[in-house]
């Protein structure tokens, strides 16, 4: 009775695992894989064997997802990698700010950490803009290929979800990097002075 319940639990877990395969692959081999799993002598061979079967399937899932990844998804993955250094710097800076705020640490001198700080800044801060440009370009091309009617559907957004996410993250990071002083200055000036002095306000805030 307990063995049957364990077997049913393992089967349910394996069936859930199969959902991680790419759609096309799962539709073609999902049923056969589950059938083969049912055939395996899991009860006789023990827990180690079951673990090996799950491990083998997990590795295969990673491999099949990488193989089936389309060019747009590859650009999205590249975009995520490009944004990684900025995310790290942002995270570390945030922690340092909090530590500084509670008096647990003083803000470090970045030049002491990286002697060639200017180059590091350019590499770290330009990377999200590059990720944004690449993915926005890919998304625009995809939309042009699909046509305006198809590009404005939920299906298009869903099938380009990763690219869209990188565009949003890249845009957010780029705006933060190049405008984290200028944007608040501009908004504040706009609220106080209205649209009348927008030209001088723009010039003033770009120097902020």
């Amino acid at each position: 009775m307990v063995a049957k319940r364990k077997a049913a639990l393992l089967r349910r877990g394996y069936a859930a695992l199969l959902w991680l395969y790419p759609d096309e692959y799962r539709q073609r081999f999902g049923d056969s894989m589950l059938q083969t799993f049912d055939d395996l002598p899991l009860g006789r061979k023990g827990f180690g064997f079951a673990l090996a079967v799950f491990g083998d399937t997990l590795l295969s899932i990673v491999k099949e997802n990488l193989v089936s990844t389309q060019i747009t998804n590859k650009l999205a993955l590249l975009g995520l990698v490009l944004m990684l250094p900025f995310a790290l710097v942002f995270g570390v800076a945030l922690i340092w700010q909090v530590l500084n705020w509670i008096g647990a640490a003083s803000t470090p001198d970045p030049v002491a950490l990286f002697p060639n700080m200017q180059l590091a800044y350019w590499l770290i801060f330009l990377a999200p803009a590059l990720a944004l440009a690449l993915n926005a370009g890919a998304l625009t091309l995809g939309a042009l290929r699909a046509g305006p009617r198809a590009a404005l559907t939920l299906h298009f957004a869903r099938s380009n979800a990763l690219t869209l996410a990188v565009v949003v993250l890249g845009a957010g990071a780029t705006v933060f990097i190049f405008g984290h002083d200028a944007i608040p200055c501009f908004l504040k000036g706009l609220l106080n002075g209205g649209w009348g002095n927008i030209g001088p306000l723009f010039q003033l805030c770009m120097k902020a």
């Binding site: 894989m33 059938q35 083969t36 799993f37 997990l58 295969s60």
Partner: protein, 120 residues
């Protein structure tokens, strides 16, 4: 469907699947059992490796799905049997020929596994 290409030397998984299908059409678990038997337990593949390899072999035209249901004890509507194609047979023959050549080469040079073990 795009045609993939599988080059020699074959991976152990693909070689053993070709070998398992060379005598009979088999379903997934049948292939797994035969591979374990052929390799005396040294090659054991899970469903992930098996179906990943079968996918590539189908794409390369080395195997195809069969209509036959040849294992009445284990038959099930979902069970799909696979068989070798002409190309699969040719590739297996070429790979076996390659192994034979390597074996004769090692025999000519009087090589043995023990010769490579230091201190013996």
């Amino acid at each position: 469907m795009r045609m993939a290409k599988i080059n020699s030397p074959l991976t152990p998984a693909i070689f053993h699947i070709l070998l398992a299908l060379s005598t009979h059409e088999r379903h997934g678990y049948g292939i797994m059992k035969q591979v374990e038997k052929d390799s005396a337990g040294s090659v054991s593949m899970g469903p992930g490796t098996l179906y990943g390899s079968l996918n590539r072999m189908l794409q390369a035209g080395l195997v195809k799905e069969s209509d036959k249901r040849v294992d009445p004890e284990m038959d099930d509507a979902r069970r799909i049997y696979y068989k070798l194609t002409g190309l699969g047979q040719k590739l297996l023959a070429a790979e076996l020929e390659r192994y034979k050549h390597l074996l004769s080469l090692s025999e000519k040079s009087k090589l043995s596994a023990q010769r490579f073990v230091y201190g013996r």
